[in-house]
């Protein structure tokens, strides 16, 4: 049995090393005083200073943040609609088509989605003079993708929710829309929050759709990082990486603590 124990530990350790070595490398070399970022020459905060002066990246970051927040909100709203329709209405005309369209972005390569949307926007622009490619079009594309993910998350929660709660609400005098807002929604908040975070992260990190749908002067942070990465290595990117990693780590830890606290509930009395 001991052999198995060591094998398990070994496998897990190697696995985690594989997952974390690149992350550690990113962080370590953000403090490296050499431009080449591949040999350690000394500790420095120069790259962070450079980052603070880098207007392009800061603007890109703010733009990405804005788009991500908007995307998360629109994805959750549309996703709730779609999840509700798919879970509650089993039979209606075009249900297969509806379900297919909701799930399709999960299966399509982003290049294809980006390409199709771009051609559409260009055609529309020629015809109607609107929309101009930029933040709006990126938001649209991100929402298309985000809605698909949000629907999956929310639908799985709706599916396992106790239906008798909604019947009880109707029994108590709630009209259908009241049932949704007073009973259904409060009971799926965790799924809504998860969907929001998921689509936010997705949008913040997206390269392909943003590249296709962006307009002049509207580069999101991933686009900037991507173009710099193609050219070579840039320690400022390491600095961004470190900041991101710190932020995500803090968030993950905070959420874990919140969940652990919520799980600790007062004891049930007997009878």
């Amino acid at each position: 049995m001991n052999r198995h124990r060591w094998f398990a530990r070994g496998w897990l350790t190697l696995g985690y090393l594989f997952l974390y070595v690149p992350i550690v490398v990113l962080v370590v070399f953000s403090f490296n005083s050499s431009r080449q970022a591949l040999t350690w020459t000394g500790f420095t905060l120069d790259w962070y200073h450079a980052l603070a002066q880098d207007e392009e990246i800061i603007n890109g970051f703010l733009l990405s943040l804005k788009i991500a927040a908007l995307t998360a909100c629109s994805s959750v709203v549309l996703g709730t609609f779609a999840a509700f329709v798919l879970d509650r209405y089993r039979r209606f005309r075009g249900r297969t088509l509806f379900g297919g369209m909701v799930n399709a972005p999960l299966v399509m390569p982003e290049v294809i989605i980006g390409l199709s949307l771009l051609l559409t926007f260009v055609s529309l622009e020629k015809l109607l003079g609107f929309p101009e490619r930029g933040m709006l079009t990126i938001w649209f594309g991100h929402t298309l993708l985000g809605m698909a993910y949000a629907t999956v998350v929310i639908q799985s929660r709706l599916r396992e929710m106790d239906r008798s709660l909604e019947e009880a609400a109707m029994d108590m005098g709630c009209r259908p829309h009241q049932v949704f807002f007073l009973v259904t929604l409060p009971n799926i908040t965790q799924a809504l929050a998860a969907a929001w975070l998921l689509t936010f992260t997705l949008s913040l990190d997206d390269v392909v759709l943003s590249a296709f749908l962006t307009g002049p002067g509207n580069s999101t942070m991933p686009i900037i990082i991507f173009s710099r990465a193609r050219l070579g290595l840039d320690p400022r990117v390491n600095a961004i990486a470190t900041l991101t990693i710190v932020a995500v780590t803090l968030a993950v830890i905070a959420i874990s603590i919140m969940q652990a606290r919520a799980a600790r509930r007062p004891e049930r009395p007997k009878a």
Partner: protein
């Protein structure tokens, strides 16, 4: 006395279904039709896509350039690229499974207090920017990168290994990026495995190895399927990893489409390839969805005695 149809179901329902349906049609059907139209047109320098219809001398002329599709059918490149994408996707899925399954298994069998931490440590890379993590591998795998420096300093090699921009580096990137997608559903499945099945197997005389292959693995089938789908499907259309870590010999459909579009500026050609790829993906998708809704309809639902 015949009962009235409950009217309270109808109007609200139509609205709730109608709104998202309309949005979906707009964001799906419209782009697809436009792409379809463009795929039939000529590449034009002044006008990125030519016009299909023209009305001359009271005659409505529709020019369909089928040449784009003919080219796709004739040119080996597209077929090769598509098959190559499938190949790399399958390889990636296999590697993720081989690494990820034991990983998830050991995670699930760890002590109860340790599991949340192990899970959190897998979630962290998952939530960290994917682009940045791939960028890190550039630093590690390039000719003057970390790995080569380490091997040179340890005198294990004489000259730097050319790993960067090869299928190997791309595979490392793909497996690295998609490993959490394989681990998480597998873990979710394995952690719910009732240990009593394993006890029953042992009671009936199975060795741990036999128990693993005959009880654990079959029971985790749905987790394997979920993980495989989550890795295989997105990998086919990957662009970023092949672009940053791959090379000229790594043919992936994502890159080909991008190059066709941005580099060659042949939008009709790119549209034609898009239409073909969409149809290749749509057919199994429609079948899968119909299969799903048949399953849903066959399920007992709310019927109670």
């Amino acid at each position: 006395m015949t009962p009235r149809r409950a009217p309270w179901l109808l109007s609200g329902r139509s609205l709730v279904i109608g709104l998202p349906f309309a949005w979906l049609l707009l964001s799906f059907l419209l782009p697809f039709l436009i792409v379809l139209k463009i795929s039939f047109s000529e590449m034009d320098i002044s006008n990125p896509f030519g016009t299909l219809f023209s009305y001359v001398d009271d005659v409505l002329i529709m020019k369909l350039k089928l040449g784009n599709y003919a080219f796709i059918a004739r040119d080996e490149l597209y077929l090769l690229t598509y098959l190559s994408s499938l190949k790399y996707a399958a390889l990636t899925t296999l590697c993720c499974l081989l690494i990820g399954y034991p990983f998830a298994y050991f995670m699930a069998r760890a002590s109860v207090s340790l599991r949340p931490i192990l899970l959190m440590m897998v979630m962290l890379p998952f939530w960290t920017s994917f682009l940045l993590r791939i960028y890190a591998w550039k630093g590690i795998l390039s000719n003057d990168g970390l790995l080569n420096r380490l091997l040179l300093d340890l005198r294990l090699i004489d000259a730097p290994l050319q790993i960067m921009n090869t299928p190997v580096s791309m595979m490392i990137g793909l497996v690295y990026a998609y490993l959490p997608f394989m681990i998480l559903p597998l873990y979710a499945n394995l952690v719910k495995l009732d240990l009593r099945y394993l006890e029953a197997a042992a009671d009936l005389g199975a060795t741990p190895w036999q128990t693993f292959w005959r009880v654990t693995v079959p029971l985790s089938r749905s987790g394997i399927a979920a993980g495989a789908m989550l890795v295989f499907i997105p990998t086919i259309g990957e662009y970023v990893i092949p672009e940053l870590l791959g090379g000229p010999s790594t043919l992936m459909i994502g890159r080909v489409l991008w190059d066709e579009f941005f580099t060659n500026n042949d939008w009709p050609m790119a549209s034609a390839v898009t239409v073909v790829v969409v149809l290749l993906i749509l057919a199994p998708l429609v079948w899968f969805n119909r299969y799903q809704s048949d399953q849903d309809r066959a399920a007992p639902g709310r019927e109670r005695p």
